[in-house]
């Protein structure tokens, strides 16, 4: 039973449940304890040992049902072709030939569970559970059958078709063709079964793999190249990232450094005790709540990136209590309200309709910002500017940028363009860059996560 359990763990891993070696040991001990007799008990007990979150419990249940659901080879599915052949009395005459081909014997015996077991053993030998891609299904089905001895079976069928076994020929040729026919039916049945078997393996072990690959790919795709149909998936990825960051940073406003005596405060507190330190005070670090201002260029070239940045930041609302968001192409407006009251899915188009798609004017936007919102800026605030820095040759208002830099804690510029493009054409990036603490290319969600992580960490350390 070791083997099936190991395979079950692999299926669970494929279903995104982490089963470490230690957990698999636990699971084995659990199984030793509860045994296999009571299916419900077996399932519940393993569930307790392996699934570690409510989500995992749900996928565990699905996976369990699928994994342990292999019925015996079903006799009939209505079409009639999927039926193992039956033994006929005349077969006795071919005892010797059949004896050399165990597969044929098995087919004629018609024991579904025995065949299922044999197929599983073969599958284990050829490593069918290692299946990774959809396209491998045919290959594995064939290999399983080869391992079960399909070639011998085919040889036998051909031999029977040629008319008996050669040496004693003659009268039993009719029986031979009949047997050949029945064996051929069995062969088709096996092909069918093996295909289904491999299909199930694929479902169990590999399908989520494909999904994971897809997501990995999306995370590294330039945001401007994402297609409409991937947006839903992207939203999920971004939310997950945000959740990860949130759980890392949302807690701990105060951080004790137990072990470091705060001498000054201890002495003061213990004045009444004649300076004998009855009460001891320890040093601790305070963690600030991040305050972030986001200024997003929403002209067409940057819109996709802006969309994800905003989505990202708003998913972080547990951590970032104070987020101000502004968007501009030529004029700058506060979009915090829109984002707060709508889903990001509806908010972004609304913002775009309001101010998007016009010709970009960074100078004007900065001017608007200074006039209306600069007062909110203090030395605890991080300013994130997302844009390509292409200002259509208008006045870039570097002077405002300098003031922004001086007043805030940090200015971070995220540019969807690669660095080699900065400064070409109407890009003012090299000049703006002077007044940024960090200027980075940010074209994929991976970049986004890294940048936001850095920002949040800087608050945690302060």
């Amino acid at each position: 039973m070791q083997r099936p359990l190991e395979n079950f763990f692999r299926a669970l891993r494929a279903a995104d449940i982490r089963v470490s070696p230690a957990e698999s040991i636990d699971a084995h001990r659990t199984v030793d304890l509860v045994g296999y007799a009571d299916r419900q008990l077996f399932k519940d007990a393993l569930c307790v040992a392996l699934a570690k979150t409510p989500d995992e419990v749900a996928s565990y249940n699905d996976c369990f049902e699928m994994f342990f659901a292999r019925e015996e080879f079903s006799a009939d599915d209505g079409t009639g072709n999927r039926q193992p052949p039956e033994r006929a009395d005349s077969d006795a005459a071919f005892g010797e030939e059949l004896g050399n081909v165990p597969l044929a014997e098995m087919l004629l015996a018609g024991d579904g569970s025995e065949m299922a077991a044999a197929m599983e053993q073969s599958a284990n030998r050829v490593g069918a559970t290692e299946i990774r891609y959809f396209s491998q299904r045919g290959y594995f089905a064939r290999r399983i059958l080869d391992d079960m001895g399909l070639r011998d079976l085919e040889k036998l069928i051909a031999q029977l078709r040629r008319g008996g076994t050669g040496d004693d020929g003659g009268d039993d040729s009719g029986d031979a063709t009949d047997l050949a026919q029945r064996l051929e039916q069995g062969r088709r049945f096996l092909l069918d079964e093996s295909r289904q078997f491999v299909e199930r393996q694929y479902e169990l072990y590999a399908r989520s793999n494909g999904e994971a690959l897809r997501e990995e790919f999306l995370m590294e795709t330039r945001m401007s190249n994402l297609e409409q149909r991937d947006f839903a998936r992207m939203h999920n990825i971004v939310r997950r990232m945000a959740k990860r960051l949130a759980s890392r940073y949302s807690r701990r406003r105060k951080h004790t450094r137990r072990g470091q005596l705060d001498v000054r405060r201890t002495m003061r507190r213990n004045m009444p005790h004649d300076g004998i330190p009855f009460e001891v005070l320890w040093k601790h670090i305070k963690i600030e709540r991040p305050k972030i201002v986001v200024i997003c260029d929403v002209s067409r070239s940057v819109a996709a990136a802006a969309r994800f940045l905003l989505l990202f930041l708003y998913s972080l609302n547990e951590v970032i209590a104070q987020l101000q968001a502004y968007a501009f192409s030529d004029r700058l407006v506060d979009v915090g309200d829109i984002l707060e009251h709508h889903d990001v899915e509806t908010a972004i188009p609304e913002i775009m309709a309001k101010i998007g798609f016009r010709s970009t004017d960074y100078g004007q936007a900065l001017d608007d910002y200074e006039e209306n919102f600069m007062a909110d800026l203090d030395r605890h605030t991080t300013v994130i500017i997302l844009g390509d820095g292409r200002s259509n040759f208008t006045d870039p208002r570097i002077d405002i940028m300098r003031r922004l830099h001086d007043r805030s804690r940090a200015v971070i510029w995220l540019n969807p363009e690669p660095e080699t493009f900065w400064g070409t054409g109407d890009s003012e990036m090299p000049r703006y860059r002077q007044f940024c603490h960090v200027a980075k290319t940010c074209s994929t969600v991976m970049h986004l996560e890294r940048v936001i992580d850095d920002i949040l960490r800087s608050y945690a350390r302060a």
């Binding site: 982490r18 470490s20 230690a22 957990e23 636990d26 001990r29 659990t30 304890l33 509860v34 419900q40 008990l41 519940d44 007990a45 569930c47 307790v48 040992a49 699934a51 570690k52 979150t53 409510p54 995992e56 419990v57 759980s247 949302s250 807690r251 701990r252 406003r253 105060k254 951080h255 004790t256 137990r258 004998i276 330190p277 009855f278 001891v280």
Partner: protein
């Protein structure tokens, strides 16, 4: 290894016994929960219990203790909880007080020592004295380890503690021992049954999850909930019980900020009992809705539908077991 003479080991042999045993102390449990306890007990592993507030996570630990007749040691977690509050602390004040007293006696003790070295040797004996059991203040975790016949250790709302604390728990949860530098390693003779509860305020670390069995307690279905109400509020009349459970089950299908959980159902049942209600009426529900729903918006959202829901709940009550439409 444990011997069969201990009361507890003898008590847990299979899942049904657990269900029955917990039932005796008024905790109606599903098979999953009982299985979790069974496995935890036999593999000596802690259980991490998750579920929304009020589904009986803490109660599970309390009831287990009551059933097995073991002392319950409870540790409430909060932000900033550290090992000095969870494990042990030196009685600093007492130590200081003793040194102050000793200061006056110092002359007598060291009076006749010929050299500084001899004095030091003499003093060293006192040093060890100050870091002995006498000055050790055991906190919940250490107390749980030192219980001779085992204990039920409840680490409540572990998600409220800091990540460092979680890391610190690992040694205790996997080896059931702690190391105190001045004294040595203290190992439990009978490992306690450990429950950790979490409301999912934050994700627990993988290391901790790995060491625990995981139990998720969902909101109960109508049948189980009725049994729970029957066990906890036995005075309530059968029909009314059925109706109120049906009503609560219907509430759970609404889009509410905070769904009522078992503790709310029980509170409500007690309130209805107190008001001598013998049937559900819209007015009565309207007046007592604040027992079930804890947010103003939720109450507002539900209020217009009360009449309809009451009607359905009453039908369900007459039919038999509460329906979950």
């Amino acid at each position: 290894m444990r011997t069969m003479t201990e009361p507890r080991a003898a008590k847990i042999n299979n899942v049904d016994e657990i269900i029955a045993g917990l039932g005796d102390v008024g905790y109606i449990t599903s098979r999953q929960i009982a299985t979790a306890i069974f496995v935890a007990q036999n593999l000596t592993k802690p259980i991490l219990v998750e579920g929304s507030a009020g589904v009986g996570k803490t109660e599970l630990a309390l009831s287990t203790a009551a059933w097995l007749d073991l002392p319950l040691i409870r540790m409430q977690c909060y932000e900033g909880l550290d090992e000095s509050k969870a494990l042990y602390e030196w009685k600093y004040g007492k130590q200081l007080l003793y040194t102050q007293i000793l200061k006056d006696k110092m002359g007598d003790v060291l009076g006749d020592t010929p050299s500084l070295d001899a004095a030091m040797t003499k003093l060293q004996g006192f040093g060890d004295l100050f870091f002995s059991e006498q000055f050790l203040e055991p906190r919940p975790l250490l107390r749980a380890l030192r219980q001779e016949h085992g204990a039920v250790l409840l680490i409540d709302e572990i998600d409220k503690s800091d990540e460092e604390f979680e890391a610190f728990l690992l040694e205790i949860l996997s080896a059931f021992q702690v190391t105190i530098p001045e004294i040595g390693t203290i190992k439990s003779t009978v490992p306690p049954i450990v429950f950790l509860t979490s409301n999912n305020m934050r994700e627990m670390g993988d290391a901790l999850k790995r060491r625990c069995l995981h139990l998720y307690i969902p909101l109960p279905d109508a049948r189980l909930e009725e049994q729970i109400v029957a066990a906890r509020v036995p005075d309530i009349e059968v029909k009314l019980r059925r109706k109120l459970v049906a009503f609560v089950q219907m509430l759970r299908e609404q889009d509410l900020k905070k769904l009522p959980s078992i503790s709310e159902t029980l509170d409500w049942a007690r309130v209805l009992l107190l008001l001598h209600a013998d049937d559900l009426a819209p007015d009565l529900i309207r007046d007592t809705l604040n027992v079930l729903l804890k947010f103003e918006q939720d109450i507002h959202a539900v209020r217009p539908q009360i009449a309809e829901m009451t009607r359905k709940a009453r039908q369900a009550g007459d039919r038999g077991y509460a329906a979950t439409s």
